[in-house]
Structure formats: structure tokens, C-alpha cells
């Protein structure tokens, strides 16, 4: 593959890598599994990049490869992994483009919704996502029990999801 083609691939993949990861993470609930599959998909995409038509969008093409990698992964792992049923994976995969549409607007709305959180909730969600520690380990720092911290995060995430939907609905 020539330099221009290599450069094109790197640029396209870098631009869409996050979307591809979200796509895979939707089908495989474990982040570690999703990361493995995205890496396998990256290899497959590279090996097959000659067949990519630059006049067509990259992400749907990449998702097709990733979907096959997801299926391969499921075949390899299904004896000892918790996986969604085949029907759910297929439905999620088919519907994902529609579900993912408007992600940029939701991301902007999320920024605004985070700004509306009470400071204590904002600190909590920041603590959760800025740390590599598990929630159980973080609980001691917040003075909460692990169960209470889980509940708080559940409440905050639900609030954020509702806020994003409400914000976008008001802007329409």
C-alpha cells in the first residue's frame, strides 16, 4: 500500500475510531472485550483497505468488518463469557446507525447538563470517571457505602441522559 493510502487509512481510522469503539461496546458489554475486538477489526480493516471505496463513507464499511469480528469473538468466547443473545446483537447492530445519529449534538448537550449538576454530583461523577479505581474502592473516599455510591452514580447518569434528551427536545 502506498504512502498516500496509508495516510488516508490512518486519518480515516483516527477520525472514526471512537465511533467504532462505541459500536462494538454496544454489542459487547465488556470494555475489555470491545477493545480487543476493535483492535482485531483495525487489523482486518487495514488488510482490506484496498477494497474500500473512498467515495463511500468509512464508518459503515468499518462497522461491517467490526460486526464480523464481534461474531468471531462470540464464537470463541461464548462458553465462558456473558454475552447478549444473537438476536439482541443483530438488532443492536442493525439499529446502531440510527441510534448513533446526532452524537455530536448530544455531546454538546451533555456538556451543558454537566454544568447544571449540583457540585457534589459533579464531583462524584468526575471521581468515578477520572479514576482507574473500582467504585468499591472509591466509596471510602466519599464517605459512602459502595452500594450508596452505585446508587448515586445510577441516579446521576439517569439524570444526565434525561437532561440531554430534554435539552435537545427543547432546541428542536
Amino acid at each position: 500500500m502506498d504512502d498516500d493510502r496509508s495516510r488516508q487509512f490512518v486519518m480515516l481510522f483516527a477520525r472514526h475510531e471512537r465511533d467504532l469503539y462505541r459500536y462494538v461496546l454496544t454489542l459487547l458489554p465488556s470494555p475489555a472485550d470491545a477493545e480487543d475486538v476493535v483492535q482485531e477489526a483495525a487489523t482486518a480493516l487495514w488488510q482490506n483497505f484496498e477494497s474500500f471505496d473512498p467515495d463511500r463513507p468509512f464508518l459503515p464499511w468499518a462497522c461491517r468488518f467490526a460486526y464480523h469480528q464481534v461474531l468471531n469473538f462470540r464464537r470463541r468466547q461464548k462458553t465462558h463469557r456473558r454475552l447478549f443473545s444473537g438476536a439482541v446483537v443483530e438488532a443492536l447492530a442493525v439499529e446502531w446507525p440510527a441510534h448513533a445519529d446526532g452524537a455530536d449534538a448530544r455531546c454538546e448537550a451533555l456538556d451543558r447538563c454537566l454544568g447544571k449538576l449540583p457540585p457534589a454530583d459533579r464531583d462524584l461523577v468526575r471521581l468515578r470517571y477520572a479514576s482507574d479505581e473500582e467504585v468499591g474502592a472509591l466509596a471510602g473516599r466519599t464517605g459512602q457505602t459502595p452500594n450508596a455510591l452505585y446508587k448515586s452514580l445510577q441516579r446521576i447518569r439517569k439524570g444526565l441522559l434525561d437532561c440531554v434528551a430534554r435539552t435537545l427536545n427543547q432546541e428542536r
Binding site: P29, F84, V88
Partner: protein, 446 residues
């Protein structure tokens, strides 16, 4: 369930326990059954995954590489990407395509977290402190202000944004996704939502909303912001927004003066002199053919046959009239401009337009300036556009519209189009004049 309906509490619990790894087998079976039976549950689940990932992306500090195969790489991702772009083996290129941040390291020998930014390119860069130069060259990021005396230095941030500093400048990277410009100019390119940055200046913050923009921080604690594409907010997340083609003077006391950007200003802020004269002047300007001041030359500009005619009522002389006449929705005049590889070039296009008193446009009709990007096979693959004469324009009063964009890769030519959005009406016209295009270099992408 409508799109804005809240997430049911039982699904919220299942989703939350799933992402936290506390969902029981029974709970997982329940979730699977709900997803299988309910399309709305699947939509909400996809949204929840997106939210969870966005929050993780926003605050994650873990290095992106987690698999053993990637841990052996001693170079930072940014440097490998730069190498990959130079055309190395496929395996190396694939290796830089790292999956997102993952679980915490499980061994004590894990390399330290990636720096918030990595120097990926420098051109004639002279640093005030030689130790800074050494550290940056080694892939490290000193925790002090980086004083660049002259030249340019290009940094790749951990989330994919590019920041180019042009000396003299003093910059810092105080946290992930943040760059502090204590003095001087930077140009920021944020290609994805995840890569957005906040630029701190003594006059206030500039919050990227997905864009390319330039910031100049001055010794008197004022700042100048110019938006090349997309949108930024100035001051705070709820502060006023600037869109492409706009610039603003910012003061620490909150004063903000927004005005249209000029090509010369863009070129200055972006750190490159334009290769063509500013719009509105003669010279090498690609759209200014010798007869332009007397009107748009028909041999230079093509367009929708039967809808174009010379008009004596241009802004500075004869212009070109585009009339609705009920035939086409978008009658237009256009010129194709080819200057070799335009990818990555800064394009600034502008035009004046008015609706004539003898055939004014009606509500629903308006004018537009559009720049269409074409590849080497003359196929269109993208565009930018700006409308004008929207609302209720006063007949005979000219308005100017200007747009700026960085041509995407593969751009071999552009088609500049002056359009009347005619709404299929039999009446209504727009007179265009002084269309112009300038092409300038900008700091290259990594």
C-alpha cells in the same frame, strides 16, 4: 416513547449495574430479554453506552494502550502516528490504532500515563530553556510554561486535538484537554467531539465545540479569537459563541467584540501568509479575472443557462444577476478553481449580493455562497456554504458574506458557486458582485 421521554428507572438500574460490572446473571437475563423485545429499550441502551463512554473519555487518565502487544511500544502514540504517516510497515500503522482507554494496569511495570500533549513536529523552533527542548524531544511534557522564542511547534493532545504554537509564545498544558496560552498565538484543530479542548488565556477561556480556531493572547491580558470552522464559546460554557468566519476581541473584564473575520487576519493568526491577495483586491486572486470589476465574465463563470444575465447595478459597477423564473430551485453561477493539491489549504471565499428593486426576492428566497470540494476525478465530496439576504433584505442594499474553511484531504479543485435559492417561484432575483477566493497555507495536520 418519544425521544425526550425519560429513561425508565428499571432500565436505568440494569444499565448502570451492567456498566459497573455488578449486574447479576438474573439481571443480565432480564436485560437481554428487555432488549430483545423492546426497540425503545435498545435505543436507550445505545444512548446509555454513548453517555458512559463520553464521560469516560472526558475524564479518563489511563493511557490508551492496554493490551500486551501494545505495551512493548516505547514511543508515544503521537510519535508513532507521525512515523506511520511517513509510510512505515503496515503492522506499525495498525499498532497505532489504539483502542480507547481501558481498565487499569494490572502490573507494576506499566509505563506511566501518557502526557497531556506530545510534541510531534517543530519548524525552526527555538525554546528559551534548552532543557525544555530536550524533554519535548524525548516525548516528555515539562510541567512549566513552554516559552517558544521563535518558529512553530505542533503538539498532539491525548484526545487527538492538534495545537500549533507560533513563537514568540508561552504555552502550558495544565490538564488533559486543556491548553493555557499565556502569551502568543496558537492554532487548534479538534477533529472529533472527543478531542475538543479548552484554551485558557488571561482574558478568559475559549471552549471548543468542534472546530478549528486560532487564539492570540496578548501581554495586556486581552485575547483575540478567530474561528476557521465550527464553533467555540468564549468566557465559559454558557458564554457567547463564535461561529466560523467570526473573530472576537476578548478582555478579562468580560467585554467581547465580535466581528467578521478577514482573510489577512486569518492568515496572520494561522501563521502563514496567504498565497493570494485578500478578497476584494486584484492580483493573483483566482476569481478576479481581468474583466471582473466590470462584471462577472461569462467566459470565466458558467452557470444555469437562461437564469444569468449581466446587471448594471453591481456594488462597484456591473454585476451578475441570477433570476428565479420558476424553472430551477437553485439557479447559480459557478467557477471551478484548480490549483493542484488544495487539501489542508485555508480557503476564504466572499461575495457581495443584493436583491434588485425591479425584481426583489420574496420571503423564502435567499442567496448563498457555496464552496464545493472536488477530488481528482472531479467528483464532489463535500462543501461549505453560507447564506445571505435571508430575512427581509432592502432592495439595492448590498450585503457581504464570507466563509472560511480548510479544504479536506483529496481536494484537487473547488467549485465556487453563487446561488439563488429560488423556491421555484417565477419572480425574484439577486445581483452578485465582487466574488473572491483566497488560498493560504496553514500549519499541517499531524
Amino acid at each position: 416513547m418519544a425521544a425526550a421521554d425519560p429513561l425508565p428507572s428499571d432500565l436505568a438500574r440494569l444499565f448502570s449495574e451492567l456498566v459497573e460490572g455488578t449486574l447479576t446473571d438474573e439481571g443480565f437475563a432480564e436485560l437481554d430479554a428487555r432488549l430483545a423485545a423492546d426497540p425503545e429499550a435498545r435505543r436507550l441502551y445505545a444512548r446509555y453506552v454513548e453517555l458512559h463512554d463520553a464521560l469516560g473519555r472526558r475524564w479518563a487518565n489511563a493511557p490508551p494502550a492496554t493490551s500486551p502487544a501494545l505495551r512493548v511500544a516505547s514511543r508515544s502514540p503521537a510519535r508513532v502516528i507521525a512515523t506511520g504517516l511517513a509510510g512505515v510497515a503496515a503492522a506499525v500503522v495498525v499498532a497505532v490504532l489504539l483502542p480507547p482507554a481501558g481498565p487499569p494496569p494490572d502490573v507494576a511495570t506499566e509505563p506511566p500515563a501518557a502526557p497531556h500533549a506530545t510534541l510531534v513536529a517543530a519548524r525552526d523552533a527555538v525554546w528559551a530553556d534548552p532543557n525544555v527542548d530536550q524533554a519535548l524531544s524525548a516525548g516528555q511534557l515539562p510541567g512549566v510554561g513552554l516559552r517558544l522564542e521563535s518558529g512553530t511547534a505542533e503538539f498532539l493532545l491525548a484526545d487527538g486535538a492538534t495545537v500549533v504554537a507560533r513563537g514568540p509564545a508561552v504555552v502550558r498544558f495544565p490538564a488533559r484537554g486543556r491548553v493555557a496560552v499565556d502569551l502568543g498565538r496558537v492554532f487548534c484543530r479538534c477533529p472529533t467531539p472527543a478531542s475538543r479542548v479548552v484554551v485558557e488565556t488571561p482574558a478568559g477561556e475559549v471552549i471548543d465545540l468542534g472546530t478549528e480556531f486560532a487564539v492570540e493572547s496578548r501581554p495586556d491580558r486581552t485575547a483575540r479569537v478567530a474561528v476557521v470552522s465550527g464553533e467555540v464559546r468564549v468566557g465559559s460554557a454558557s458564554g457567547p459563541s463564535l461561529r466560523k468566519g467570526q473573530s472576537a476581541e476578548v478582555r478579562a473584564d468580560g467585554l467581547l467584540v465580535v466581528r467578521a473575520i478577514t482573510a489577512a487576519e486569518l492568515a496572520e493568526l494561522c501563521g502563514a501568509a496567504p498565497s493570494a491577495e485578500a478578497p476584494g483586491h486584484a492580483g493573483d486572486n483566482l476569481l478576479l479575472d481581468p474583466g471582473f470589476d466590470r462584471g462577472l465574465a461569462t467566459e470565466t463563470w458558467g452557470g444555469t443557462e437562461g437564469h444569468l444575465s449581466p446587471d448594471p447595478g453591481g456594488r462597484t459597477g456591473p454585476g451578475l444577476r441570477v433570476s428565479a423564473r420558476g424553472f430551477a430551485s437553485f439557479p447559480l453561477c459557478r467557477q471551478r478553481v484548480r490549483t493542484g493539491d488544495l487539501g489542508g489549504k485555508l480557503l476564504v471565499a466572499s461575495v457581495w449580493a443584493a436583491t434588485p428593486a425591479d425584481d426583489p426576492i420574496s420571503p423564502g428566497q435567499f442567496a448563498g455562497l457555496k464552496v464545493v470540494f472536488l477530488d481528482g476525478n472531479d467528483r464532489e465530496f463535500g462543501f461549505v456554504k453560507q447564506h445571505l439576504l435571508t430575512g427581509r433584505p432592502v432592495p439595492g442594499r448590498f450585503e457581504q458574506v464570507r466563509l472560511a474553511a480548510i479544504a479536506p484531504p483529496r481536494t484537487a479543485a473547488v467549485s465556487v458557486q453563487l446561488i439563488l435559492y429560488a423556491a421555484r417561484r417565477d419572480a425574484g432575483a439577486v445581483v452578485f458582485d465582487a466574488a473572491a477566493l483566497s488560498v493560504a497555507d496553514v500549519p499541517p495536520a499531524p
